[in-house]
Symmetry: C2
Subunit: 185 residues, 2 copies
């Protein structure tokens, strides 16, 4: 694998929740993201490498990610198993309002491999902050997905462009960008 | 102005340093960014609203932003005046390794207007983290600039596309996106 297995790389699964198949979010890219996430999690479990599952609990009651909303539930592929840490967060960064930084430091885990949704919001923000805190971040491009967005001028930017451009912004500066096959192929 | 002047909005000037006119960075967009930043700073000074100037000091000696490198110097437009806070940082987020969060809280400053360079690295990361820490962030699109980047497939993404797509990612989720004329026009 491209990450250093001897460094005990952590698989950090961001917001792999049911809501993202709700058409209310609009068009998304990479419908294979959850399958690739499941394959990576399976591999990490088989090699007994550390896994941290992060679930978004919005504090806004109207949010589709508010606790108790059906879309807030974790997808079955990432149901935590014994020994797996489940963290909840209420903002984009998994490092804010959680003990993620402490957990990584206490265990000597310096390498973090990020998968999940969405590329441009919670994954990007967590990757940026992790890198700035001194962790060696990797992002698995084909195990992330995102949605169409609009420019200030009202033009729609297709989800795939949002995804690729955000990864180009992260590349080198914050993270190593990989695909699933680079890790477990 | 679009921000609430009664809330004492802080103008947060990110990395307005000489290096960004060095052709070594490659093609950039919005050559007017520094003029718009200067106009905003002038307006903020005239109205005696708070200003915080952030200067990047890379810890990598080879960086064009390492202390002592000519490009690390602040541009003359943002030379701090008495009473203006100058913070130095060594990572993208102006909230990491600085007392920015403490300063904002201690002064009751909840509204932060971000300008500077680059859009996709230090501005975006600071805006994301500020929003996640609970501050009301605004980004001034025409007072920011960024550079060409490459996708994983090696395709060049022009600086203007990087800029617009990053702002689309920030819009609504992390910040209100404005232009200079919305604030001081």
């Amino acid at each position: 694998m491209s990450v250093n297995a001897r460094a005990n790389p952590v698989l950090l699964l961001i917001d792999v929740q049911k809501t993202w198949s709700d058409p209310a979010w609009g068009p998304r890219n990479n419908e294979s993201a959850e399958d690739n996430i499941a394959a990576l999690l399976h591999w990490w479990r088989r090699h007994d490498l550390p896994r941290i599952i992060v679930q978004h609990h919005s504090k806004s009651p109207a949010s589709r990610l508010a606790m108790g909303q059906p879309g807030c539930a974790l997808r079955s592929e990432v149901t935590p198993e014994p020994g797996e840490l489940l963290l909840t967060k209420s903002v984009n960064s998994a490092f804010i309002g959680t003990n993620l930084e402490d957990v990584l430091i206490a265990n000597g885990w310096t390498d973090v491999v990020v998968v999940g949704l969405t590329t441009v919001h919670c994954c990007s923000t967590t990757i940026r902050m992790g890198a700035n805190l001194g962790f060696k971040m990797s992002a698995v491009a084909d195990a992330m997905a995102t949605f169409d967005a609009k420019t200030l001028q009202g033009q729609t930017v297709p989800a795939e462009i949002m995804h690729q451009v955000e990864l180009a912004a992260l590349n080198d500066e914050f993270a190593t960008i990989l695909n699933t096959k680079d890790l477990i192929g």
